[in-house]
Symmetry: C2
């Protein structure tokens, strides 16, 4: 039995376009003689629909669209589609009003509906806000080819449903284990329809976990993941299948919308070997591809085609310019060079070298005269005070204003270029360099920014060499460098990683060999910068803890970790 | 038996200060011969602690602080304190790692712990992110005065635990009803320890609901609520008690930190009449007091004492200036007047009249020359294009830059002044007039802004008359008024209310008599402005659906309601 696996890139809420996409892949799958087509979790509305789910019309139209879809699919093809269905018992039983469901469509009908059982509420997930967990064991019987064959029993799991193997994790995360329930009823294989957001190294965990479960229970599993960028979240696809021996027998490409096929052999009751795309081996390549996809989709799904960004001559904006060029094409990227009297000569020459390397458009807008006009206006108020943060920020905000003026005038989307280390300690100007519709690298620590740029240069210079070697500086006052007020980025990033990703206490970080004064300073900076992060643009998530929808800190609070 | 009710204003995360506060009220309660002191939900750490709960040190220190507190309380006083406790079974049972708990402290000990059973996940609430629901029926026995008396059985509920009376609501919201469980074990009275955020008219619902439950089950109930502003949320206090006949017998003041007492008479098994503060009867007064408290606490808890804001001569900034003056004192409010060549004469005279009425400080910074410097710089790029949104926004962003320069230079917190109608349709400039640490009236619709200002003028002019009667205008181009591109605010606010609060479809709004072209235009504007709201400062929540932590919409999405 031929199974088609479609890792689709839906646009959140665009039901007719998403439906059309499913119809097209279904037609393709039918032409290839597939018996069943698998699509990702919530493939009809895209994941995550978030508070669109609170809108009764949205739920109504999902239901209408599902019926439409059923009627427009090729005959004799079973299609599993992700959608949201109402929980009609909610008011009587005191349950949530919706289910996160998979519908089995065939021959113009909705044959069966399966509800997601394990609902994540950690990090970026809010599924308990909308959904009631399903309580049924989800499977169905499908005749492989003709009316004469023996039906296959297929277990259906939705994303998190497979993420509760207590032996693999060393602990249980949910009361139930849908996988065990499926094995108890006896299924031939299991499909897992997912919308699992990308974070660095996650595919390795997915494959390890699913191989583990497959081996533990001797069961073949197909994992189908959404791809595409939706606001801060990037979905990497990377769909794959493992056979009974827990060997990978199919792997789709990462970060690409794609369809592929696998055969379930009735004789062996197992998947036969199919096409195995290589996993991405180089860390930098993986993050690069994620960022390129995230940027491309945000721009496209917001209805833009061109972007603008400020080039400071520094490494962060250089990396963002390179990502944008890869994602959108050089003709769609406009760089503004906005030197001030504090800018070094190399800030302009380095930026110009980058512009040349990338082949993008650029324009120079020196801000000296505008700075003077602010100084003149503010002089009576500021007289007698020292040059400080206020004056530094004015420059950054002038640039932010110019960038937005260009964006507004010509319909470009502004990209902001701050990295995660800066966002953590607040080494960035709110309403200045933080301006933008998308913060492309706000989840990429500075040390990783460097390694990405070095990797980009592997076959020749993309990022000018001088940008890679000069000491980072905001150039908002004479002879300034980042290390005037921050520890080295190697130290800073390590402390931040321990604080943010590993939830370590000051004592633990001290025990790892870091200076307590430095740790305390970093912690203080991180806490104080909460108000800036609150107002930051969406930032592409590439780690397991980003400053995005999964970061929910109070601002007007007081807390010292130790 | 004398019961002390303390509606406290904790600072999120400031455990030692919050503990100190509880010790002080406990001392006061003991001096007044109270037998038991009630404090709000999570009184030890403040509500909501949000992702501070993901920090293991935070949980550890809460536990240490609770023990400290127990040892520093007066003897013979039972104290109910809200705190977070670990769920030691989480990894084995697949449960959440924490409980939202109430600890009964007495004689230096933690005598008993009760866990919240109903965990809200709607609107601003994310309790399933952190907490496992308690499954026990929560009550304890307390000897009213001496060792010889008969113990009283007291039922303990935490906030949402009482919000599931299916007869009152017409539906169940949760499977269990902790109230019924308590009645089944037979309790003398019930305490409800809450941190229930303010929204307009909510106290009426609370009293109606608790009276209903009290009457239905013939049970006296004490409701204790947190007060104070925590980021976007304002807690209004309004603690009260109802006797067996479901009569209000105690009501504390709204929006004030306070302690009061009630007696439980062993003979009648009921509360005796205590002090009943009048409820706030005037809608505008209620919202005004909420905003004043919210502003005051945000400024204070963020470590500021002074604020700055831009006065345009319009009604929104006038209202915010009045709120700030009431909250912080006139000496702590600085107003900037920043006229442009497009500003009307009255924009300055009206703003000056307001400054005089409020007695605040002000400074005038005409932006004409700075505008010219931008024009000169951008002229080569903009030549041949028409004056439009880009040019309008430049002005707003110049003002935003100046305001932040003053804020940065003198350590003031910048207040932003946009109203909810503007925030809904995006009639505001990101990085311009949206700038600020706090959006004071971003949940107040424009029509309500007018009614608040008229109410403020009830005993004499606070808001200059001309500000109240002139047509609203952003004054970013000659002879502009808001109604050039928007429907009247009466129509706009009604459509927004139906879209946002009542989740109505276009068809429903049309049936209510609104023009479909207008509805569609409004809806389009609301959807398109999502990217602006994403980057807005925290805004004080005064309605049941604000654009704050409870508003979680995708940006890069496509959805037309009908």
């Amino acid at each position: 039995m031929k199974i088609a696996i479609a890792q689709l890139n839906p646009t959140i809420g665009d039901l007719s376009k998403n439906t059309q996409k499913i119809v097209e892949v279904a037609q393709f799958a039918a032409n290839e003689n597939a018996r069943i087509l698998l699509t990702p979790e919530l493939s009809l509305c895209g994941y995550p629909p978030r508070d669109l789910l609170l809108n009764p019309s949205f739920i109504k139209f999902l239901s209408i669209e599902l019926q439409n879809l059923a009627q427009n699919l090729p005959s004799k093809l079973a299609v599993l589609v992700g959608t949201v269905t109402p929980n009609t018992d909610d008011c009587i039983k005191g349950e949530k009003p919706l289910f996160n469901s998979i519908a089995w469509l065939e021959n113009g009908q909705v044959k069966q509906i399966f509800h997601k059982r394990l609902l994540p509420t950690y990090d970026v997930f809010d599924e308990d806000r909308y959904f009631e967990p399903g309580r049924q064991t989800n499977y169905f019987e499908l005749l492989p080819d003709s009316q004469l064959s023996t039906p296959l029993k297929i277990g259906v799991t939705i994303c998190e449903d497979l993420w509760n193997d207590e032996k693999f994790w060393g602990h249980k995360s949910y009361e139930h284990n849908p996988l065990e329930d499926l094995l108890n009823v006896g299924v031939d294989f299991i499909v897992n329809l997912s919308a699992s957001p990308y974070s660095f190294g996650k595919q390795k965990i997915r494959e390890k976990m699913i191989k583990y479960s497959s081996q533990r229970y001797q069961i073949p599993i197909i994992y189908v993941n959404q791809i595409g960028g939706n606001d801060d979240l990037i979905f990497d696809g990377n769909s794959f299948a493992v056979n009974k021996k827990s060997e990978i027998v199919l792997r789709l490409k990462a970060f690409e919308e794609n369809i592929d096929f696998i055969d379930f052999e009735a004789k062996n009751k197992d998947f036969s070997l199919s096409k195995i795309n290589d996993p991405i081996k180089i860390e930098e390549e993986e993050i690069w591809l994620a960022l390129v996809l995230g940027l491309k989709d945000y721009v496209r799904k917001c209805g833009f085609s061109k972007v603008v960004l400020g080039l400071s001559g520094g490494i962060d904006s250089a990396l963002v310019a390179a990502i944008a060029t890869e994602a959108l094409g050089k003709e769609n990227v406009l760089a503004l060079l906005m030197p001030s009297p504090f800018s070094s000569d190399h800030s302009i020459t380095d930026a110009e070298a980058l512009v040349k390397n990338l082949g993008i458009n650029s324009y120079k807008l020196p801000i000296g005269d505008v700075m003077k006009s602010y100084n003149t206006l503010l002089d009576p108020l500021f007289t007698g005070t020292e040059f400080g943060v206020a004056e530094e920020n004015i420059q950054s905000r002038i640039r932010g204003n110019l960038l937005m003026a260009i964006a507004n005038k010509f319909g470009h989307l502004l990209l902001s270029t701050g990295n995660k280390s800066e966002m953590a300690v607040g080494y960035c100007t709110l309403y200045g360099d933080m301006n933008g519709g998308l913060a492309v690298i706000s989840d990429v620590p500075k040390t990783r920014v460097f390694s990405l740029c070095r990797w980009l240069n592997r076959d020749g210079e993309v990022i000018p060499h001088n940008i890679l070697i000069k000491p980072p500086s905001a150039e908002l006052k004479p002879d300034q460098t980042d290390q005037d007020s921050l520890p080295s980025y190697e130290v800073l990033d390590e402390i931040l990683d321990r604080l943010i990703h590993r939830h370590q206490s000051i004592t633990q970080i001290q025990e790892a060999g870091f200076d307590s004064a430095v740790i305390n300073k970093v912690l203080k900076l991180v806490t104080r910068a909460e108000f800036k992060r609150k107002q930051a643009p969406p930032g592409l998530k590439v780690t397991d803890r980003a400053f995005g929808t999964g970061w929910r800190m109070p601002i007007a609070s007081y807390w010292k970790i130790d």
